[in-house]
Subunit: 420 residues, 2 copies
C-alpha cells in the first residue's frame, strides 16, 4: 500500500504540524468562493481571507503571469511598480501616514514595526492583548500568548482581550493598559508601542463602539508610546463599513501593518507609517528585503487593489455580511446555543454557549460544529478566548447564495451535533 | 516638469534607501542573463543570483501561472506540492538531514534556525563572522556587523571573516571560535550555534581548502553547539563542483537554510535539518507560516529544481565559471590592480589592490570600476571586508559569450579608471 499524503507530510515536514479539521481536507483546485478536494468534492470557503478577491481571480493571476514573464528583481534597481502601489496604498490612509515599506509576510511587517516604534520612541516596552497573534518571527512571537515562546522577554506585557459579549468597559481596559505600562517601567522598559488588531480578530472580534479604544490610546500616547495597528485581518475593505480596521475603530495609528490578503495569496506584505517614523527607522536601522516590493509582488498587490474597487467588493462585504448576520440571528431563534452573533462586513460569526444566561462557552460543541459543517461541504473555523466562536472570513466575492448555503449547513449542524 | 521616479521613490518609500550604482538603473524587462532599462539599453547581468536559472525562465513562469490559476492556499490543508518538493530537496542532503520547512524569505529561515538551535541545545549563544549578513528580522540582524542593530544582544559574538588572500590559518580561526565561545559563556550564554555561509560569500568568498573549517566545527560541537549553514548564496549548484556550499567545504551542517534562488524570484525559502532538530523545535515552539510552502511557491521551487537538472546548470556553472576565472587571470597579466582571482563555479570575482606586494585594498577604485562597467552595459557589484572585491554571481545560464562580454568590459574599465 502506498504511503498516504498525510504520512509523507509527517515524515518530510516533521511532527505536530497542524491541519484544519479532524479529517484534513486535501485541496486540489479553487475558484472564487469554492474549493475542491482530490475526490472532486466541492466546498464553500467561508474562512480563507488570503484569497481576498476570490480564489484564483483571473485578473490577479494574469498580473502575476505577465510580470513574472517580464521582470522580477529587487528594489535596488528602480521600478515603477513599487512606487505606483505605494502611491495608491498611502492614498488610502489619513495624514500623516504617507510612507510605505514592503515585505513578504505580515510577520516581517510587524517585526519592522516593532523596530520603528523603538527608533521613534527610544523605548523598548511593548503591550499586546493576551489572546492575539501578530506573526511568527522570534521577535513578533514574543507578542503571543496563544503561540507562546518558551522565553518571554521582559519588554513585553499583556492586557485582556476586549470582549463585547462579557463586556469590559473602555475605561477599565485603559486602566489595564496603564497597569501594563507601569509593570513595564518597573522592569526598566518605557513604553514604545501598543500593538493591536483594531478589530481584535483573534480575540473573537468583539463588537466595540467607535471610540472605545480612545482612553487606552490616550494612555499609550501619554506614556510616550505609539500605536501599531495590525490590519492583516480587517484591512482592505473586509469590514464593509470601512477600508481599514482602525477607521472603523475611529483612530489613526502611527503604523499600520498589512499582509495576507494584499496579494491574494502571493507573498506580499508591508506597512504604512508617517515620514517621521520612517525617517527615525532609517536613521537607526539598516534594512533591505530582497523579495519585498519586487515587480511581481507589486503587480499582484495592484491587481488586488484594482479588483476591490472595480468589483465593489467593500460594498459587497457590507451587504452580504449584513445578510449573513441576519441569517445567523434568524438561526438563533431556534438554536439556543447561539449566544451572540457579531462581526462587520465579511468578518463575522457566532459565539456558541451552553446557556444564554450563564454564557458558559460551548467550546467542544463549537469544534464539533465546525467539523460537522466541513462534512457538509462548508469550510469555517473557530476561535476566541474560549474557542467557542464560529469564525467566517470568506473571499470578498461571497454572495447571498453562498451565505444561504453556509446558513443551511450551520442550521443542520446545530441540530445534529449534541451540545454535550 | 514631472516628478522623477527617484524622487517619487524617496517621497513614498522614505530616505536612505540604497540603490545600486551612482546612477541607478531603471529596469523594465529581463530574459536569461540580459536586462533592459527604460531607454531600451541592454545590460549583461553578472550579479543577480535570485533569477537562478535565468531571468523570466519560461518553465518557471509557466509553473507559477498554472498553479496560481489552479489553487493557492496555506498548508493546514493537504497538498502534494509541498510534500513532493520536500522529498526532492531533502534527497539532495546527506544523512541525517531529512526534514524540511518552508518560509518566504531566507531571513525567516535563519530566524527559525536560531530557534531550532536553541530548542535542540537548550542554549542561547550564537557566533557569526564579523563581516556577514544572514537576514533582516530583528533576531537575525543581530548576527550582522555590516548592518548592525543599535542594541547588540549579549548572546551574540563574532569571529574574523576568513580570508585566503591575507590568510589566517584553519587552527587560528578555530581558536577565534573557541575564544568567542568563552566570551559567550562568561556572559552567561552557552553556545547554541555557529552560523556561517559555508562559502563566506559576503566576506569576500575566500578560497579555502576542503576541511579548513573542521577544527572550528570540532570546537563548536565540543561546546555543545550546532552548525547552521546559510546556503542562500552558494546553494543550488552555483559553485559548480557541488550542489551545496557545505559539501564543497567538506562538512555536514545540522541545519541548512536557503532562500533567494530557490524560486527564481518568487518569495520562497526554507531549511533542511534532521528529524531530531525538527522534533526539538516542534516540541518547544509553535510555528506556522501562512504563505510558506504554499502550492504556487512550491510549483516555482520545483520548476527551478527541474530546470537546474534538465539544463545541466551546475555543470554549466563549473565550466563557464572556470572559463571566466581563466579570463580574469589573463587580464591580471596586464592589469596589476588585479591582486587575486577566485571563486567557484558562477560565484567568482577579483580582488583589486594598489600594490600586489602590500595588498593594499583599492576600495574606491573597485567602486569606480563597478560603476564604469555598469556604463559599459555590464552589471556587477563589489564586497568583501575591504569592499575591494568585484563580485559576480550571474544567473546559471551564463555563457562563455557572456563571460567574454564581461571580460571585455572589465578590461576596458581597468584601463580607463585611474587607480588614484
Amino acid at each position: 500500500m502506498s504511503e498516504s499524503l498525510l504520512d509523507r507530510r509527517e515524515r518530510l515536514l516533521g511532527p505536530r504540524l497542524t491541519t484544519f479539521y479532524e479529517q484534513p481536507v486535501h485541496l486540489v483546485r479553487a475558484l472564487g468562493t469554492k474549493v475542491w478536494d482530490a475526490d472532486g468534492k466541492e466546498y464553500l470557503d467561508c474562512y480563507n481571507n488570503v484569497p481576498h478577491v476570490g480564489h484564483c481571480h483571473p485578473k490577479v493571476v494574469e498580473a502575476i503571469c505577465k510580470q513574472a514573464g517580464t521582470l522580477n528583481t529587487h528594489t535596488r534597481y528602480l521600478h515603477e511598480g513599487i512606487v505606483d502601489y505605494a502611491e495608491a496604498l498611502t492614498g488610502s490612509f489619513a495624514d500623516p501616514l504617507n510612507s510605505a515599506m514592503f515585505t513578504c509576510t505580515g510577520s516581517e511587517a510587524n517585526d519592522i514595526a516593532l523596530r520603528m516604534a523603538r527608533a521613534v520612541t527610544g523605548a523598548t516596552g511593548v503591550i499586546a492583548t493576551d489572546h492575539t497573534y501578530h506573526g511568527n518571527t522570534m521577535a513578533v512571537s514574543q507578542l503571543s500568548c496563544t503561540n507562546p515562546p518558551p522565553d518571554r522577554w521582559d519588554s513585553v506585557d499583556f492586557v485582556s482581550a476586549p470582549d463585547s459579549y462579557r463586556p469590559i468597559s473602555s475605561e477599565d481596559w485603559a486602566k489595564e493598559v496603564e497597569a501594563a505600562i507601569a509593570r513595564l517601567e518597573k522592569r526598566g522598559h518605557q513604553l514604545s508601542a501598543l500593538v493591536i488588531c483594531p478589530f481584535f480578530a483573534n480575540e473573537g472580534f468583539p463588537d466595540l463602539p467607535k471610540g472605545w479604544l480612545d482612553p487606552a490610546i490616550r494612555a499609550v500616547r501619554k506614556a510616550g508610546g505609539i500605536i501599531i495597528a495590525d490590519e492583516v485581518q480587517p484591512g482592505f475593505g473586509r469590514l464593509g463599513t470601512h477600508f481599514w480596521g482602525h477607521e472603523k475603530s475611529g483612530f489613526v495609528p502611527d503604523i499600520a501593518t498589512m499582509g495576507k490578503p494584499m496579494g491574494n495569496g502571493h507573498p506580499v506584505a508591508g506597512l504604512v507609517t508617517s515620514r517621521k517614523v520612517m525617517e527615525a527607522f532609517r536613521e537607526t536601522f539598516r534594512y533591505f528585503n530582497t523579495f519585498g516590493g519586487n515587480p511581481v509582488s507589486m503587480a499582484a498587490a495592484l491587481a488586488v487593489w484594482d479588483v476591490i474597487r472595480e468589483e465593489g467588493l467593500q460594498e459587497n462585504a457590507l451587504e452580504v455580511g449584513d445578510y449573513a448576520r441576519a441569517g445567523l440571528r434568524d438561526l438563533a431563534e431556534k438554536h439556543p446555543e447561539i449566544g451572540d452573533v457579531r462581526g462587520s462586513g465579511l468578518f463575522f460569526g457566532a459565539e456558541l454557549v451552553h446557556d444564554r444566561e450563564t454564557k458558559a462557552p460551548a467550546t467542544d460543541f463549537t469544534k464539533a460544529v465546525a467539523n460537522a459543517v466541513r462534512h457538509k461541504g462548508v469550510l469555517m473555523n473557530f476561535l476566541g478566548v474560549h474557542y467557542n466562536v464560529l469564525k467566517m472570513r470568506p473571499p470578498l466575492v461571497f454572495s447571498k447564495d453562498d451565505a444561504d448555503r453556509m446558513l443551511k449547513a450551520v442550521d443542520e449542524a446545530l441540530a445534529e451535533v449534541p451540545l454535550g
